[in-house]
Symmetry: C2
Subunit: 310 residues, 2 copies
DNA sequence: TAAAAATACTCCATAGGTATTTTAT
DNA sequence: ATAAAATACCTATGGAGTATTTTTA
């Protein structure tokens, strides 16, 4: 029963205003008969006369008046919908759900969030801190729009763009600070994050050791804890460089760069390959690079490969 | 820029709900390609991706979500508009502006208004009491929908339907009550309403006298005044029968029926010939007849000529 | 390989144009 | 007689169908 068209309603509104088929048709940029037909059609569909046709006057009927006031509201809302789309077309806007791994979040976000807000004033940013596996899971389920994780991510349905690389540094009790820096494969008594953190896997892979190598009776749940444990003489650990300023300030530890083959990680952004907002996502990635450059110690910004702008 | 159609929005809503082109197309009772094309069209017109197409999943984009919530509001409003029309289709509803001449209003309206409200619960009744010429003027200007006046009305652009006829009675000072009732053409010292009232013209016409005949130094502005003047011995007058109970109760006058050729008037309803709500207007007329029959002394109900139901 | 969306094409409904008639003043 | 809306008729756009291809998991 509601099969009138917006076009008909616009014609109706014009006629209600002009009170004259000829002028209203002109306003609508159509011919007078075309307008007549559409108005007639609308009247048939409503089942009520909308206009009273006098010889030299076209007037709304009582019903037409009521109808018109509702039609105006409807049309303005339709206009608003169009304007809303047009406005959103220009800039990234709306909800943006970003996941970040725990070994990046505390060091990057303080610089990133304000910069994102500055670049995309109409964004509604929702952040989620979790381990890679979980973030990937939520991405695939459509509960996140993008995530900042360590590359590579083995998931064919996700696309990625590299953001920045950084080295790992060795964290030892301050007392050992004078000792020569061992090669990473020679580390003893290494303290690691608990199972599931990518940093744990990365550190282990650099050491060329099996998972059983580390002191898994003392896995830490955060880098802060880990550093505190090092300060207490329970062992050594590695830290991504961006974490150094924040985590070692209050601890009785010393940080040293590795020599030779320096271990490190690459942080990138990943999102569903099917997400159609590639343009916008790459804009976000660019802002993340900028934030990393300005606020993260030792982050070497990486640039997206050409062709990714597709 | 706002040239999407309601149809497209309905398809969009279905797809947003079903998250599947095939099922959504089924819901819309169209083929899957038809839906695809319209969604694509909508996306082009908004200039933004609305859906994220996965292999086994169709999801709204962030923008799509926002868009959808607005679209739902718009569609519900469109549905309401249709429902509003459907509801009004059944019964007379909306504003109804009725004019009534002063020599009818006080006697008819107390009975009429409740009956109109009872028959048309959704009517918004607006009443206007004025002299015939003015009512006709306002009718022609579209500021009234109908008027109750004395027939005939010489105005080709108006249609009329008769409602009821009634006699005039002679009103004399009570002291003269015993005198024989004169023929109406023999009246002396007749008091009349002021210029412009149709009752004045009618009375004069029955008397076969020129306009100068009456005591125009004493024209009354209402029937009440006139009757009071008669009671004070200033002359005599005629009253339509419906006015007798109300007007003569408190006055020192007596009422007598004329003999021989009894003067009277016919009250009818008039409206613009172009008014498309003839059906409804005739319904209203019927209610007026009913009200006159039950509440107006001596009103002889007249019935509309056949063919008027057009 | 299978499921699903996009594309290609064809057809038909209908919106809109021009010419004309009807209507009402 | 004139101004204006309705009607008639024609054309062309575009919505929707079927068949097919493309895509991705």
């Amino acid at each position: 029963m509601t099969n009138f068209t917006l076009k008909q309603l616009r014609y109706f509104e014009a006629l209600a205003e002009q009170q004259h088929f000829g002028r209203a048709a002109e306003v609508c940029a159509i011919s007078q008969p075309a307008l007549s037909v559409q108005i007639k059609e609308l009247e048939q569909q409503t089942g009520k006369a909308l206009f009273e046709r006098g010889a030299r006057q076209v007037r709304l009927t009582a019903f037409g008046e009521d109808f018109a006031s509702r039609v105006r509201i409807l049309l303005r809302q339709a206009d608003d919908l169009g304007a809303f789309a047009a406005a959103s077309r220009e800039r990234l806007a709306g909800r943006f759900r970003l996941g970040v791994i725990p070994t990046v979040a505390p060091y990057l976000l303080p610089g990133l969030v304000p910069q994102l807000s500055a670049h995309f004033p109409d964004i509604e940013l929702r952040l989620r801190e979790s381990q890679t596996a979980r973030l990937v899971e939520e991405l695939l389920q459509g509960r996140l729009d993008a995530a900042l994780v360590a590359l590579p991510v083995e998931e064919t349905s996700l696309t990625e763009t590299p953001l920045f690389a950084e080295d790992f540094v060795l964290v030892r009790p301050r007392a050992e600070g004078a000792h020569p820096v061992p090669h990473i494969t020679e580390l003893r008594n290494m303290l690691l994050l608990e199972e599931g953190h990518c940093l744990r896997d990365q550190a282990l892979s650099f050491c060329n050791r099996p998972a059983g190598f580390a002191r898994d009776d003392l896995d830490g749940s955060s880098l802060s804890t880990l550093v505190q444990m090092v300060g207490a003489g329970l062992g050594v650990t590695v830290l991504p460089e961006m974490a150094v300023p924040l985590e070692t300030r209050m601890a009785d530890v010393t940080c040293s760069a590795f020599r030779g083959s320096v271990p490190g990680r690459t942080i990138g952004m990943v999102w569903r390959r099917t997400n159609p907002m590639t343009q916008e996502l790459l804009q976000v990635a660019q802002v993340v690079r900028e934030a990393a450059r300005t606020t993260c110690n030792g982050a070497r910004v990486l640039h997206s490969r050409s062709g990714e702008t597709l």
